[in-house]
Amino acid sequence: MPWVSLLILVPLAAAVVLGVLPARERRAARGVALIGSLATLAISIIVVALFDRDMAVMQQVDHLDWIPAAGVSWDVGVDGISLWLVLLTTVIFTLGTIAACQRLPERRGPAFLALIMLAQAALLGLFTAGDLILFYVFWEFMLIPFALLIWNWGGDDRRGTGMIFVVYTMAGSLLMLVAIIATALTAMDATGELSFLIRDMQGVAFGEATSTLLLAGFLIAFAIKIPLWPFHGWLPRAYSQAPIVVTILLAAVMSKAGVYGLLRIGVPVFPEGIGNLLIPVAILALIGIVYGSLLAWRAPTMRLLVGYSSVAHLGFIVLGIIVIDRMAAQGAVLQMINHGIVAAAAFAVVMMISRGTGTGDMDRLGGLAKGAPRLAVAFLFVTMAALALPGSNAFVGEFFILGGVFDQYAWMAVIAMLGVIYAAVYMLRMYQGTMNGPVRGVTDDGRAAEMGARDAIILVPLILMMVWIALWPGSLVGATRASTDLALAPAQVAEGRPVEQIGVLPARAAMTPATDPAERP
């Protein structure tokens, strides 16, 4: 069975069915959405089960020519880098769908669910695409459902927010489209064949100057999507204005698109260019870590706090990828998953508090632990994971990211540690500010915010996943090792790293004759 293709087509089909349902068929819509998301989840579990952990290249590949004349194809598969992201996506979307079904918007509920399904299809496509154009297709397409969700069900400033979200992101990605085309055409000069398959481009020696230029084109798109400081302008708006369920999806899953692209395309396809952009990108990531932390410390609302903290956390992941170190990169892959789980849980908590108290304003809340002890415990879990307490899942990723970074550039790790300290400050501010101290902002001690069974369905699986990863991260890392090593190896060679640091020797990179762009007519 073409499981990976089904992974994309099933939610797409669910979206179509939901799209044609009349607005009043709320019950049917819930059923379709739940079945759709659970089916997708089941397929993703099958994909994980069929996964061969020792294989570095894309596996379970479904290939179908789309526009052969232009070298474009439907090419999807999974490898160690994408495997867990796929599972993360299906899990988070399942939980998000459940949350959405619990409190379906009064207006046009089926459409809301349809768009969520559409977004899921797009993200799954993004994480499995093996063809650059297909990657781009999903990269852009996902904006539509997200934007429509913001526009139709968002906060007071939804119009401007959605527009900025879309336009800002597109500003980067359309340039990426040009870079994609240029990459394929340049590669064609070397290989004699027009193809947008990522695996065909890996191992093509572009020459340092060309490689740097092309990578820069991609990086603009990635930087905005990640977002890397100072391109995060859209994030606080979008996270604040989107319906909270959508914010969960944005923060948990969509925010991985940029870093995923960096590791899937940026590093392996342009190994020669990385060296020139390594330090600038790392510095932006470091600034983002400190800056995001500072802003999170003083952010007025919970959503902004978690949003800015995401800027900081993604800074760590970028750092882990860009320093071209096996340990850091595997830590980064793990951290993508961790951040997804933790951000989803954090926003789920924000959702519960905001709903129970009617506000997300930090200054107007306090002492909710009295009426909501169970939520307090869950929130504590989330807080500790978010601030990467040693022993939490997030710490595992952070430790190995920074360990690897320390290996290559010790000063970066030391600066990044500032973010670790600040994380404690701002996350405790959020936890204590809402849960502890004298009761504020509510008349019922916060009982309305207490985690009921319906909330637990969403939060408890997330917490269980955190515990699982904290207890046995090896179970995840074991599957990511081969692919990450393969992705990194050419860049490590290009950077002249010691041989013992390199996991696999990139045979193709060594063999493909380098064509100097200057020599080409």
């Binding site: 500072l294 340990m327 920074l402 320390f406 290996d407 010790a410 991260p473 890392v477």
Partner: protein, 638 residues
């Protein structure tokens, strides 16, 4: 066998903690007690079994590692979930579970009236688990995990009464400073990982000598480890969280912030002595920091009126002694003092808890006096503790402190300096401790008497106080001057014998004993003169040295300095970022572009005048432009 038992010791408190935390609703107190206290008792019993088991082995056959599973394997580095059972960790296990059990027992009564009884025991069990993990961990990764988990437990228990803003703030402060320590530890681990390629204790310590004695790398590793140790053990300048931590319930203060967690820094340095042995400079820095801390904290303790704060500063000071000792290389002495301190400081805290409990949460010495006739048990515990901590001969503190100081005198020039500081500290210790004793238990009752009368404790609280009081006396007999060195012998397989190890000799023992006894008795005498004999005298003398005393009262104003230097500027910087940089920079990119494009759009619109003649004009202009472009291209092309 030993390791299997140790795994059980480790896991039992965790399981009971999870069961308690996950119990739906509030279980009956009996259930909570059974789980909360029983689990620690089991752990203690099994720890004793492990200890006995090791005793049966030869001295060089007392170290076992056990790995549960390969936790992660990443980029050539394997980290197992493993434990290390050796004399050092067993000693710590005994202290943790033994003292821990007594304090749990005590808590059963102390926390009885609190509505969050279950939460308290769940957190306490979590703490015991974390502390055991810290001492049992077989590699640096899980050391860090345990290290952070005790910080978390400490956070939870300091902020146990979460409605109180002061408790919440204290908890946060403790947590954040401990994170700074964690960062030090993590960086040390990175350095070890980079230089030695492993996080495993055995491999790392074995490879340490390969880094070269006194090399910069070793120094960096040691100092980074010490950052972690200093934060956890409240050493200057990272000590400010500990006094505030007294916002937590008293049993918490006794267990976490006196007996066990705060001494983790001492444990860490002993555990990593392989590195410290290689760098005399690192050791000296550690010793000097310890010395400064002990003296500074002792002066602050003199001025406190809150009974728990006196004890807190006393703890800072006493841990300073231990850090000083291990810094100088007197590892066994440091560990000995760690153990003795656990007994007498726990006794002191629990006795103070009895007082506080009896006086309905009154903690100020100004509202106490003449309590000895109401609270006999507390009086016994407090008295024994004071005698021990002051270093009165025969009591645990005497032998421990003497051991430390006598070793210091063998530690070179820095050692002599430390010895002098330690002796002064001993005098101050006796003074402030007996100040507390005399003001609380002697003299007149506070104006208006006690309303209602202080009620004595029941057996739950009394038994631990008495047991710990007795241990404060006999606990020190394990290691006596002139040759009876049970502790040193026990730890010998861990610390080894090397040039860096410092031990007392007969000569130093003699000098130290004489001087320190004089100092201790002098301190007690002065305390009696000032606070015991005539309660009015201290009021008459209140004007003396007002300025320096105010500084001491403010704890040398570290908090204020940190606020001025780190917290406030940081907050201001963050505010500037939020209100100025963010709107101008990242948001400015957006608003600026929007404004620019909008302006361009207006321009385009205004050029679209609707008049057909203007359109013709633009067309002509366009022709001209096209002509120029074409001409330029032709010129450029040819």
């Amino acid at each position: 066998m030993a390791t299997a038992l140790a795994w059980i010791v480790l896991v039992v408190p965790l399981i009971s903690g999870i069961v308690l935390a996950g119990w739906p609703g509030e279980p009956p107190h009996a259930v909570t007690r059974l789980l909360g206290i029983g689990s620690i008792l089991i752990s203690f019993a099994l720890s004793v079994a492990v200890f006995v088991g090791l005793l049966g082995n030869a001295a060089d056959d007392r170290s076992f590692t056990s790995s549960a599973f390969e936790w992660i394997s990443i980029a050539g580095t394997d980290v197992d979930l493993s434990i290390l059972v050796d004399p050092l960790s067993v000693m710590m296990m005994l202290i943790i579970t033994g003292v821990g059990f007594l304090i749990h027992l005590y808590s059963a009564e102390y926390m009885e009236r609190d509505r969050d009884y279950r939460r308290f025991f769940a957190s306490m069990n979590l703490f015991v688990f974390s502390m055991l993990l810290l001492v049992l961990a077989g590699n640096f990764f899980f050391l860090i995990v345990g290290w952070a988990f005790v910080g978390l437990a400490s956070y939870l228990l300091i902020g146990f009464w979460y409605e109180r803003p002061a408790a919440v703030a204290a908890a946060k402060k403790a947590f954040v400073i401990n994170v700074i320590g964690d960062v030090g530890l993590v960086l040390a681990a990175f350095l070890i990982l980079r230089e030695l390629g492993t996080l495993d204790y055995g491999e790392a310590f074995a490879g340490a000598s390969g880094l070269g004695a006194n090399s910069g790398t070793v120094l960096a590793i040691c100092l980074l480890l010490f950052v972690g140790a200093a934060a956890k053990s409240a050493q200057v300048p990272l000590h400010t969280w500990l006094p505030d931590a007294m916002e937590g319930p008293t049993p918490v203060s006794a267990l976490i912030h006196a007996a066990t967690m705060v001494t983790a820094g001492v444990y860490l340095i002993v555990r990593c002595h392989a590195f410290f042995d290689l760098s005399w400079l690192a050791g000296d820095i550690v010793a000097v920091v310890g010395a400064i801390t002990l003296l500074m904290a002792a002066t602050v303790a003199l001025q406190q009126v809150d009974i728990k704060r006196v004890l807190a500063w006393s703890t800072v000071s006493q841990v300073g002694y231990m850090i000083m000792a291990v810094g100088l290389g007197a590892y066994a002495s440091g560990m000995f003092m760690l153990m003795a301190h656990a007994f007498y400081k726990a006794a002191l805290f629990l006795a103070a808890g009895v007082v506080i409990h009896a006086l309905h949460d009154e903690q100020s010495l100004d509202r106490m006096g003449g309590l000895r006739k109401y609270l006999r048990v507390a009086y016994f515990g407090m008295g024994a503790g004071c005698l021990a901590i002051a270093g009165v001969p025969g009591f645990a503190g005497f032998f421990a402190k003497d051991d430390v100081l006598a070793s210091a005198l063998n530690g070179g020039a820095i050692g002599v300096f430390c010895w002098v500081v330690g002796i002064i500290g001993a005098f101050l210790t006796a003074l402030y401790m007996f100040r507390l004793l005399f003001r609380a238990f002697f003299g007149p009752e506070p104006a208006g008497g006690y309303q209602p009368a202080p009620h004595p404790s029941r057996w739950w609280m009394s038994v631990p106080v008495v047991v710990l009081g007795i241990l404060s006396i006999v606990g020190g007999w394990l290691q006596l001057p002139f040759g009876w060195t049970e502790i040193s012998d026990w730890l010998l397989p861990v610390t080894g014998e090397g040039p860096a190890i410092v031990e007392p000799t007969h000569a130093t023992e003699v000098v130290t004993i004489i001087v320190s006894v004089v100092m201790a008795l002098g301190g007690i005498g002065l305390a009696w003169w000032l606070f015991g004999a005539d309660p009015e005298r201290r009021i008459r003398l209140a004007a003396i040295a007002r300025g320096p005393r105010a500084v001491m009262d403010d704890a040398w104003r570290f908090d204020e300095a940190y606020d001025d230097v780190f917290v406030e500027p940081g907050r201001e910087m963050a505010d500037v970022m939020l209100t100025r940089v963010e709107p101008a920079g990242p948001q400015g990119i957006i608003t600026g572009t929007v404004a620019f494009v909008r302006g361009a759009a207006r321009l385009v619109r205004s050029s679209q005048s609707g008049m057909v003649r203007a359109y013709a004009f633009w067309m002509v202009l366009g022709i001209a432009l096209a002509g120029i472009v074409a001409a330029l291209i032709a010129a450029g092309g040819s």
